[in-house]
Point group: C2
Chain length 191, copies 2
């Protein structure tokens, strides 16, 4: 099925191009013609692959939601290792797999303001913050994390990760921070 495969390839190309542009300039600032031009293809043709600009966005956000929930399942790892290991990997993706990296940024943007309501709903449905809060609670139990509202700590943690990744997406030359800096938000302060 060379034909169907071809079509899938093209769809993916569009999705990846759109993902990059959405992350860089934002959903509304990106024209459908910008995406088409960057793929490249004619503006009209893009509509043979996607119903609408919003459908294109939603497909991306749904992919992101799927990828995110698989990450959420690895709640078995000891909390103190989970965060720095996870961050190290995530920052490595910035160089090698921009796809994963950009997806994280997009999901974060979708959770906050500036995108169609529908995208926001999907992004929020993953419940990342709450899942992470649960892991933090465990770490508080074993005394490796500082006390305090676990959900609020989770919000702080993700805010940092999200913000740093947005900066990295905007300035590809930027180096990644030491995961330990970010993990310090959670860690109990002792020797």
């Amino acid at each position: 099925m060379t034909r169907k495969e071809q079509k899938e390839e093209r769809r993916k190309a569009i999705l990846m191009t759109a993902l990059t542009l959405f992350v860089r300039r934002g959903y509304h600032e990106t024209k459908i013609s910008d995406i088409a031009e960057a793929v490249p293809m004619s503006t009209g043709l893009l509509f043979h692959y996607f119903e609408s600009k919003e459908e294109l966005l939603l497909e991306l956000v749904k992919m992101g939601a799927g990828a995110t929930s698989s990450v959420e399942k690895m709640g078995e790892i000891p909390p103190e290792l989970f965060f720095s290991g996870f961050l190290k990997q995530l920052f490595a993706y910035a160089k090698n797999e921009p796809w994963v990296f950009h997806m994280f940024v997009l999901m974060g943007q979708a959770r906050r303001a500036g995108m169609p309501e529908e995208a926001r709903k999907i992004a929020l449905s993953t419940g990342t913050i709450d899942v992470t809060a649960e892991i933090i609670r465990k770490g508080q139990g074993t005394g490796v994390f500082r006390p305090g509202d676990a959900r609020l700590l989770s919000v702080c943690f993700w805010a940092t990760v999200q913000g740093v990744m947005e900066e990295m997406a905007l300035d590809p030359g930027m180096e990644a921070p030491d995961p330990e800096w970010i993990a310090a938000i959670l860690r109990k302060e002792n020797g």
Copy 2:
């Protein structure tokens, strides 16, 4: 000059309403008619006060840039006090002076993606990240902050503050985190 004052009042009301809506839903997702309705006034009348939607945004961003640069001048305070004190005050504004609070969120949004290019330029012109990096460098000199690229630490710090404030803007019921959690990004880990 009751008349001119009246006009100024109205302008301020529009600015504050727009600020709130921009921060909550994002610039592009906010219709000019949404702003007018919330003030309240007719859609057409809003154009007697502002040239265009973009002018309205730019005026806000310019105000923000002004307020921000005044904050930047207080670089005399010892670094280790600067950050937690600053954060405590900032989070307090969330309750008492939503204006200041929302302004910070808007400036952060403008620095990143999703707004007209012009707004981005103005927001970036404040150089907040670099000014903060300088303060961090001082703190590294006296040994209270962890070593490492000061600018990168500054980016991490602001990413957290920005992200947390965006969450607070979206969910007004949310309580503020302990400033110490965020300052931990910078602090040298010792007893």
